[in-house]
Structure formats: C-alpha cells, structure tokens
Amino acid sequence: MSPVPPPTSAMQPVLRALRLPQFGWGSKIAALVLAVIVVLTLLAQWIAPHDPLAMNPLARLKGPIEGHPLGTDNFGRDIFSRVLIGGQLSLIIGIATAVVSVLIGLVIGMVAGFFRTADAIIMRMMDALMAIPSILLAIALVALNGPSVGSVIAAITIPEIPRVVRLVRAVVLAAREEPYVEAAIALGTSMPKILVRHLVPNTLAPLIVQGTYILASAILTEAILSFLGAGVSTETPTWGNIMAEGRMFFRIKPELILYPGLALSLCILSINLLGDAARDMLDPRLKKRAG
C-alpha cells in the first residue's frame, strides 16, 4: 500500500539531542552561556566578594565603587554578590518546579491516558485548574502558605501540572494505538508493565522539552510574583526579588533591575533555545522533507 513513513524512533533523537555537536551554532552558544551561568551560581559562595545579606544602609544605592563592582542596593548590599547568589535560588525554583510538575503530571497523565474511567474526572479537574489564571492562582497560593521558597515552588508548580497532564495523556493516547503496544498486549504483557515499559519512555522526549519550558517560565513567574509582592524574602535573594525590590529605583539606579534581569534573561534565553533545539530534533514532523 502506501510507502512507509520515515522511521520515528524517539530514543535516538534524545540521545542525539544530548550530544551537543549536533546542535546548531545558536544552541552551542546557548549551552555555553548556560554553563557559565550555572558554574558561576554554583561557585557563588566563593566568587561573591561580599555576604549578600551584609548591609550598610548609609552607603546605599552607590554606583560601582571600590569593592562593589556593580554598586550597592537600597540597603547598601553588594549587587554583584546578590545577583550571583540570587541565581542559585532562581535556578533551584526553576528546576524544582520543572521536576515536580513533570513528575506529578506524568503520573496523573498516565492514569488519565490509560484508565478511561478516571480520565473524565481527572480531565475536568485539570480543565478547572487550567481555567484559573495561573498568576492569580499562584498569588493566592503564596498568600495561603506565606512567601517561603517552598510555597513559591508549589504555587508555580500547581498551575503547570495540567499542561503536563494533557501532554502526557495525549502521548499515551497516541502511543496506546501503536501496533507495538497492541503487539505487547498480544504477547500477554500486563497493563502496568505496558505503561511503564512501553508508554513512559514515549513521554520522555516531549517531557524533556516541556520541562525546559517550565524551568524557564518558573524562573520568570517567580520574578513576577516578587513584583506583585508575593515572592520570597529579601533575605533569600533571587533574581526575581532583586528586580522586584529594585523596580522602585528603576529610574535612578536601573542596574538593580538590569543586572539580575540580564542574568535571568540570558539564562532563560539559553534554556529556551536548548529546549527548542531539543524539540526540533525530537519532532519527526519537522524533519520531514518537503515533496
């Protein structure tokens, strides 16, 4: 009958995606930038010239001066040190959100995709959760739990879950129609085993991509929550709350937003570019040749 479509092996592209030399130059730069940012934040404790909390309100809002390469903030704290250390928490929030929402979404999505009875109920609940604007939900959740790191992560994670659930469910629904899954049924493989061994790996590739986007958007959302007054304490600097605190001084000391903003944007830009590159490699449709 019809000529066969190109192979849709999905694990190969993942492996390939993890091998950098196959990326374009844009992705290589992105990977490099991200690596620099990650290394700098990881080593922040040793690189930072000052304790990010040490304050001197009498020498506040100074420009670059001796000992403060990027100047000081409104408490007279060292901006450079704060941006360095702030990256840690921003990245932790991003990574934690991505991991947690992907894991929870994976489990719920699997259940919804495979058990028709649970599907309707789960998806209505997910619809409801998706219908609530995520920022409002996040503010309310932070207000509920107090603006700790944990509650900020929870507040950003919960609205992301339905999106992951939908993705996983769609992949599962598509994959369960695959002949190799039917063949596995014919081979007497039990349902849980099919779920774990045949279906979960299918979701891996799209979830890696989705995870990078969640990671990026979580860092951004944290910044917005801080902006709206529902972020983590100034004693635990993040790029988001440094910017949120600095916004009052945007016109007299734009560095307070500029430097953390630059770090954050570069970081997210790199993550997004890598996510895009991974997606392009993982999406067989984009590899299809015209004609």
């Binding site: 009958m1 019809s2 000529p3 066969v4 479509p5 192979p7 849709t8 092996s9 999905a10 694990m11 190969q12 695959e178 002949p179 190799y180 039917e182 063949a183 596995a184 049924i185 014919a186 081979l187 007497g188 493989t189 039990s190 349902m191 085993k193 045949h198 790996p201 040749r289 015209a290 004609g291």
Partner: protein, 557 residues
C-alpha cells in the same frame, strides 16, 4: 487485446530527459539520486516508470516539474519539453509551465487536495493562475472538465470540500485539475496505489480515455506490474537511480533482458491459486456468528451505528491459512482485531483450542494470549523503537515465565530461521529495512509458539520482491510448526499465493467463503467477480512471462 501495441515512433516528442543526474550536493560524498537517465515520451504515449521504493522514479517526476526538494539539485543533463529546455528556466517561468503544459497527479488523493478549499475553486484556481478567463468562463470550464472525468452530480461536488468526497472522486478531481488546461504532458505518480482495486480500475480507464481524447503524453509512475501491464505503451524499469531496461510493454513482459527486470517480474504473485492442500480436520480456531457494532451510544442523541462485522463464521484447522479479503471498510481488520481481543466483539463466539475467548476478562484471557499472535501491516511501528530486537523478542516468553537465558537462546535461533544475522539481536529497529523488520515481527510472534497467527496486511507495505520473501517465510514456518494463519489482505494476488481458504468480505458481511482455488477461479458472488476483474494485469502470468491459461469464470447467476 492483451497490451497496447500502438506505435509512436512517428509522433512528436513531448518530453525528453537526457543524461539527467540529480544529486544531494549538501550531503557528504555528494550521492547521486538519479544517475544519468534518459527518458523519451511522445505525444499520446503512455510511458510507465516502474521500480521499487528508492529507485528514483518520483525524483524523476519532480525534476521534470521543477519541484525538487531543496536538498536535491540537478547536476547534469537536460529536460526538454517540446524542444524547450526546462532547466535554465526561472522559477516564475516554471510556474507558468506547470499545470498549463506539464500537469501532475499524486498518489494520495486524500492529502493532495487542499482540505480547506472547495474542490470547484481548486479547479478554477488553475485557470485563475494561468489564464485571464472571466469567472463565468472559468466556472463553465471547470464544470465541463468535471463532467469529462465522469463525476456525478457536478453541481454538488463543485461546492464540496475534499473530505466530503470518496477517494476515487478526489482522484477524479485531481485529474480534472491536471487536464483542464490540456497540458502536453501528464505525470501521474502512483495515482491509484492508495485506491481500492475496483476504483483503481475506473481511474486507469479514465486516464486512458482522456489521454486518447486529448492526445496527452502520460508519464505514469508505479511499482505495480499489474498496472503497468494494463496501461503502458512503453516501460522504463528503474533501480537505484538508473534505468535498467526499457522497451515496449509486451516485449518487456515476454522477454525481459535485465536480470533485475526478471526478478521483479518473477516476484509478482500469481493470481492463480496455490495448489490445494489436504484438508486438515484438527480445528484450532472456530469463529461463530461474530458481530461487532460500533457506536450507538451518545448521551444527548443516539449516535449512528456501524455494523463493522456481521455474523462472521469460519473454522481454521491447524497448519492451514485462511485469507480474509476485501477492500477498505469491508470489516476484515475488525474481524482480525476481534479475534485478537484487541477490541471486544459485540456478540459471537471465538473458540480457541476449544475455549471461548470472546467474553473472557483480561486476566482470564492472559493464558490464552500466547496461543494467538499477530503481525501488523506497518513494519515501522510494530516494534518498539526504543528496544533492542532481543528485548522485543523475549518480551512475550518472559511474561509467561521462560527464563531469560532460554528466551535469548531461542531468539538467537529464530534469527537464523527468519534469515537475519545473530548480531541483529543487539540492534534497534531503525537499523533494519522494512522487510527485515517484518521478519523480526514474525519471529517475535513465533517466539510464543502460537497456534494461530493473525497477519493483518502483513506484506502490504513491502515491495514485491520483499513481499515474496516474507510470504515464503510464513509458508515455511507454517510447514515447520503447524501454525494456523489468518491472513488479512486486500490483495487478491497475495491471497491466491498463500491461502487455503478465502473469505470475501464486503461492508462487514461475508459474501463468499470457500477454498481459495474455487473462490478465485469460479467466484459465485458478483462482488468477488468484480474484485477479480479489477485486479490489474490479471490475464498475465508474470512469473512465467506469459499469458495465464484461460480460466473459466462461472457466469453470473
């Protein structure tokens, strides 16, 4: 008349490709996809370009249209249309040419028409692009050409969207669109491959009719020797980007010179049924009054019902093959999936070794699963792409408690049986060709030592030469292991080759059921006869390069 025997030596040349070479300039090594081919098509002539997948036949057609994908470039050679060299033309000039002087129709009528535009508008668009006829005139011409391609109810169809039409109707629209400006050359790239045989026959005769009416030159690309035998004046056989042989159709079929041509022809399964085997009496599978009804649910309004399988009854003895034959939508795959319990039958009994498995729960079914295995159509998707071949092969045995080492040993042995190297076990599916993967899928099924193997269009996606090998493998396994096979196919030739008994299905119902030689040589039902009549090249015994001995069809009752 067996073949077309028209002579075009005196006719003017419509299109000529000389020493045409197409390469992949950006791929390391600059591989050539077409290696200096020469093709000549004269006015009114039908030239068939035949070859297996990857032979370069579609690239040839796209090169002529100037629609090569970006990665491909014409390296050397020339393409002249009525004496005009096409290669130096600009994109704009080529656009002028397309549809006006060279038109093309494609394999998939389902996807070749724009789904969001009305078909009438799509036909009119051709005139809009190439003529300055007023709208009324364009509309009149569009309707006229729709009449010519024998579309019923032109008024309605003119306003229809592609999805509202059948596959055959869509292909007629494509033909109408291609011919409305009376081009010099029509390129038809596998135009009937996706169609049922009865529709295929109609489309082929339509192309023939219009060609004679308009004197169009036709370049017909196909992999199907039967179709070639039906329509070609001249045949070009392609392999790996080269023309291995060309000549008038009858000469080529009777005295193929090239080894490849001979091989290709020999691989075409014969329509004459296999020799009947002794009827075995140890029944392994009995299906009684199997029904499958889809739909009928719905909360607010009753959804329409579809009776996908009606009262299907048959028995299958050990070591024998039952063919279920029918066109798309006949319900043959529904029956297969019901037997496999991939879907639940609405009613009826499925007796497997004496146990009715039709109503068993999933858990109760498990012990019976291993006796019942399946091979699917699409060799690309029937193996988990993330698993090594070994993992796929031993999945079933491990489920039933076979120790891993034993299972692996058996897998290694079976690799030999299905003709694959031992190291195949450690590799992944994408490293194999379609035919090889189908062998692996068969090996996976055989690992379970099944009593019944359901082969759902298991060879349909394969090239004929590969097809023959897989059929041989099935036959051999059946002889060695006594497996009973339920063979689902739309292809009468394949059915004739492998089946002991044949069931012919139409719209969910069994219309004819009997021994293969009886059903295929003296069909009782008109639908069966229509199917056989529509099989292209049915008069020819490709394997032996000669006509088939005349068979006596029973006259319709």
């Amino acid at each position: 008349m067996l073949f077309k025997t028209r002579n075009f030596d005196g006719a003017p040349v419509a299109l000529q490709a000389r020493n045409l070479t197409v390469s992949l300039p950006e791929t390391p090594g600059n591989p050539q996809v077409l290696k200096g081919i020469d093709v000549t098509i004269r006015q009114g002539e039908t030239v068939c370009l035949v070859g297996e997948s990857g032979s370069g036949k579609s690239v040839t057609s796209l090169a002529i249209m100037g629609l090569l994908p970006q990665a491909l470039k014409v390296a050397t050679g020339s393409i002249t249309l009525q004496g005009q060299d096409l290669l130096p033309l600009s994109q704009a000039q080529m656009r002028q040419l397309r549809a006006a002087r060279v038109a093309m129709i494609f394999q998939e009528p389902m996807t070749a028409l724009n789904p969001v535009l009305r078909v009438g508008d799509q036909i009119m668009e051709v005139m809009e692009l190439h003529t300055d006829l007023p709208v009324a005139e364009r509309r009149a011409r569009a309707r006229a050409i729709m009449e010519q391609v024998h579309l019923p109810d032109v008024d309605r169809i003119f306003r229809s969207y592609p999805h509202q039409l059948s596959g055959g109707q869509r292909q007629r629209i494509m033909i109408a669109m291609a011919l409305v400006l009376e081009p010099v050359l029509l390129i038809a790239d596998e135009p009937t491959t996706a169609l049922d045989v009865t529709t295929q026959k109609q489309i082929l005769s339509l192309i023939d009719e219009l060609q004679q009416k308009h004197g169009t030159a036709v370049l017909f690309i196909t992999h199907d020797m039967g179709v070639v035998a039906e329509i070609a004046d001249t045949v070009y056989v392609m392999k790996h980007g080269e023309i291995v042989e060309h000549g008038p159709i009858e000469t080529l079929l009777r005295q193929p010179r090239a080894e490849y041509t001979r091989k290709l022809l020999s691989a075409v399964p014969s329509l004459s049924p296999r020799a009947a085997r002794a009827v075995a009496d140890n029944t392994v599978l009995r299906v009684e009054s199997l029904n499958k009804i889809y739909g009928g649910g719905g909360i607010l309004k009753k959804l329409p019902q579809a009776h996908a399988a009606k009262d299907v009854t048959f028995t299958l003895p050990r070591g024998r093959t039952l063919g279920i034959v029918g066109e798309s939508g006949s319900g043959k795959s529904t029956v297969a999936r019901c037997i496999m319990r991939l879907i639940d039958p609405t009613s009826g009994r499925i007796m497997l070794d004496g146990t009715d498995i039709a109503d068993l729960s999933r858990r109760a079914l498990r012990p019976h699963r291993q006796k019942l295995q399946v091979v699917f159509q699409d060799p690309m998707r029937s193996l988990n792409p993330r698993w090594t071949i070994a993992e796929s092969l031993i999945e079933g045995p491990l489920n039933y408690g076979t120790p891993r080492r034993e299972a692996l040993a058996e897998a290694a042995r079976l690799m030999g049986v299905v003709g694959l190297p031992q190291d195949a076990l450690a590799r992944y599916p994408h490293q194999f060709s379609g035919g090889q993967r189908q062998r692996i899928a068969i090996a996976r099924a055989v690992m379970m030592r099944p009593d019944v193997l359901v082969a759902d269009e298991a060879v349909s996606a394969l090239d004929v030469s590969v097809q023959a090998q897989v059929l041989d493998l099935l036959d051999q396994l059946q002889r060695d292991l006594g497996i009973a096979i339920v063979f689902i196919t739309h292809d009468l030739r394949v059915a004739a080759q492998i089946c002991d008994e044949v069931i012919v299905m139409q719209r969910g119902a069994v219309v004819e059921h009997g021994p293969a030689d009886r059903v295929l040589s003296t069909p009782a039902h008109s639908y069966t006869r229509a199917l056989i009549d529509a099989a292209p090249g049915r008069f020819w015994d490709f394997h032996n390069f000669r006509e088939l001995p005349k068979v006596n069809h029973a006259e319709p009752a």
